[in-house]
C-alpha cells in the first residue's frame, strides 16, 4: 500500500487501521461475542473449545488463552474489543492496562496518581522513555509471576 502510515514510529503503540482490522477480524468478533452472558459462560466453561468455534489463527487463540493483550494486539486485536475478555474475567480496565506494561495494578495506579506516564522520551521509537522496547517490561508483575 502506498498510503502513508506516519503512526508507525511511535513506541509501544499499535494503530488499529484497516490492515490490523483485517488481520484481527475474527479475534475481535470473538471478543464481541462476549457481550452476551451465555457466551461468557460457555467461554469460561471451556475456553479452548469456545475459541475453536471461531476462524481465528492458532496464534490468536494462544494469545487469548495467555491473556497477553500485547500479543493479541500484534495479531490484530483492538483494545476496546479485547477489554471484553477482561470484563469476562472480572478484571478492571486498569488491571488490563497494567498487564500491557508489565506493571502490577498497584504500580500502574501509582503511576497514574502521580500524573501518568510522561510523553518525554516516548514520542518516537529510538528515544529512551519508559515505553521504549528496550525498557520492557516496566514493572514487577513479571518477577512476581515467576516467583
Amino acid at each position: 500500500m502506498a498510503l502513508d502510515k506516519p503512526y508507525q514510529d511511535i513506541p509501544g503503540t499499535i494503530i488499529f487501521d484497516a490492515e490490523q482490522s483485517r488481520r484481527g477480524y475474527w479475534l475481535n468478533q470473538f471478543c464481541m461475542s462476549l457481550m452476551k452472558a451465555e457466551n461468557r459462560e460457555r467461554f469460561k466453561a471451556n475456553e479452548r473449545a469456545y475459541l475453536d468455534e471461531w476462524a481465528m489463527t492458532e496464534e490468536q487463540k494462544q494469545a487469548v488463552l495467555a491473556r497477553d493483550l500485547n500479543w493479541c494486539m500484534r495479531t490484530g486485536g483492538n483494545i476496546y474489543f479485547l477489554a471484553k475478555i477482561g470484563a469476562t474475567d472480572g478484571k478492571s480496565f486498569q488491571y488490563m492496562a497494567a498487564t500491557m506494561t508489565g506493571m502490577t495494578q498497584e504500580e500502574y495506579m501509582q503511576m497514574m496518581l502521580s500524573g501518568g506516564r510522561s510523553a518525554e522520551g516516548n514520542r518516537y521509537i529510538g528515544e529512551d522513555g519508559d515505553a521504549q522496547a528496550h525498557r520492557q517490561p516496566q514493572g514487577q508483575s513479571h518477577q512476581k509471576k515467576d516467583a
Binding site: 506516519p6 503512526y7 511511535i10 513506541p11 509501544g12 503503540t13 499499535i14 494503530i15 488499529f16 487501521d17 484497516a18 482490522s21 477480524y25 475481535n28 468478533q29 471478543c31 464481541m32 462476549l34 457481550m35 493483550l69 500485547n70 494486539m73 483492538n78 483494545i79 476496546y80 474489543f81 477489554a83 471484553k84 470484563a87 469476562t88 478492571s92 480496565f93 486498569q94 492496562a97 497494567a98 500491557m100 506494561t101 508489565g102 500502574y108 503511576m111 497514574m112 496518581l113 500524573g115 501518568g116 506516564r117 510522561s118 510523553a119 516516548n122 514520542r123 518516537y124 515505553a131 521504549q132 522496547a133 520492557q136 516496566q138
Partner: protein
C-alpha cells in the same frame, strides 16, 4: 427558529460512570474530579436546553467490525443504555428528537456529509457518562438527546478539519429548523489517554491544556491539528478529541457553513467553566463550557 446556545466539552471515561453508579463520588480518589463538575451541574440547572446534540463515539458496543460508520446520527424516538459487559448502567433511557435529528440529517447530507442514519442503537458510556457528569442522577434526563456517533476506533478516522466543518453544517441545519428550540451541542471523549501497549497510561498535561486553549480561542488552528499529533502527544485514544471540534465548529464565532467569504461572524463565546484533572482511571479529564453571546 432553533438555535445553538452553548457547547459543552468533556471526557467520557467509563470508570467515572462506575464511580457514580456505585456511590463512590465522595471517595478521596474521585472527590476532586466530581468537585470540578459541581459548577457544571449548577450551570445545567440554570441553562436547561430543549435538546442536546451529543457527539460521542461508540466503543465496540453498538458497532462491531461488521459495520463501521464514519458518522452516524440517531433519529430514533429512544435509545437504551447499552450492556457493555457488566450490565446496562442504571441510568434513564435516552429520549431522542426524531424531527430535529432527521432535519439535521437531511440538511448536512445535502451539504455533502455522508451520514449513516440509525434508528436502532444502544448507547454506551461515551454518551451516558457526560450526561451523568452534567446532570447527576435524575429519574429522567432533562431533555431529549440526539446521539451522534463518530468512528475514532478504526483508522482512518475523520480529520479534525472534517469534524470542524461538520459542526458548521450542523449549526446551519439547526438554524433552519422552524421550531423555537434551545439546542446545546456537546463534544465528548479525550483528553490525553492511551489504553494500549507499553505506552499505556500516557498523560500530557501541558499539551492537553495548550490544545484546550487553542480549541477555545482559535478553533481553526485546533482543527488543523494533524491526527499524528494527537497520537504522539496525547496517546492513541487522545484522538477522540476530534469530536470536540464538531461541537466547537457549531458555535457562533465560526463562519456558518456555506456563508460567503468575509461574512460577519458572531462574537467569541463566553467561557462559563473550565476544568482539568488527572487521573480518572487511565485518562486525563478535560472539560469546558462555552456560551454563545447575545
Amino acid at each position: 427558529m432553533a438555535r445553538i446556545s452553548a457547547s459543552v466539552f468533556t471526557s467520557h471515561v467509563p470508570a467515572i460512570g462506575a464511580a457514580i453508579d456505585l456511590g463512590k463520588t465522595h471517595e478521596p480518589y474521585w472527590q476532586p474530579l466530581f468537585k470540578g463538575f459541581e459548577p457544571s451541574k449548577q450551570w445545567m440547572k440554570d441553562n436547561r436546553p430543549d435538546v442536546i446534540f451529543l457527539v460521542y463515539n461508540d466503543h465496540a458496543t453498538a458497532f462491531s467490525l461488521d459495520l463501521i460508520p464514519t458518522f452516524a446520527i440517531g433519529t430514533a424516538a429512544e435509545f437504551n443504555p447499552a450492556d457493555e459487559g457488566w450490565g446496562p448502567r442504571p441510568v434513564p433511557k435516552v429520549i431522542g428528537h426524531p424531527e430535529l435529528a432527521s432535519h439535521i440529517a437531511q440538511s448536512v447530507i445535502q451539504d455533502d456529509f455522508d451520514l449513516t442514519i440509525v434508528n436502532r442503537m444502544d448507547v454506551d458510556h461515551g454518551l451516558t457518562v457526560p450526561l451523568s457528569l452534567m446532570c447527576g442522577q435524575p429519574d429522567a434526563w432533562p431533555c431529549p438527546v440526539i446521539p451522534f456517533a463518530v468512528n475514532v476506533v478504526q483508522y482512518p478516522v475523520p480529520s479534525g478539519r472534517r469534524c470542524f466543518n461538520l459542526g458548521r453544517a450542523i449549526r446551519k441545519a439547526v438554524e433552519s429548523f422552524d421550531q423555537d428550540l434551545n439546542v446545546q451541542i456537546w463534544g465528548t471523549g479525550g483528553m490525553s489517554h492511551q489504553l494500549q501497549g507499553a505506552r499505556a497510561g500516557l498523560i500530557n498535561r501541558e499539551w492537553d491544556n495548550a490544545w484546550l486553549d487553542k480549541m477555545i480561542n482559535d478553533p481553526e488552528a485546533a482543527a488543523a491539528t494533524p491526527h499524528i499529533d494527537y497520537v504522539r502527544e496525547a496517546g492513541s485514544e487522545g484522538i477522540e478529541l476530534v469530536m470536540w471540534l464538531i461541537a466547537r465548529g457549531a458555535m457562533a464565532d465560526v463562519p456558518a457553513f456555506g456563508a460567503p467569504e468575509g461574512a460577519p461572524v458572531g462574537p467569541k463565546p463566553r467561557l462559563a467553566h473550565r476544568f482539568y484533572h488527572v487521573p480518572a482511571s487511565n485518562t486525563a479529564v478535560g472539560h469546558a463550557i462555552l456560551e454563545n453571546q447575545g
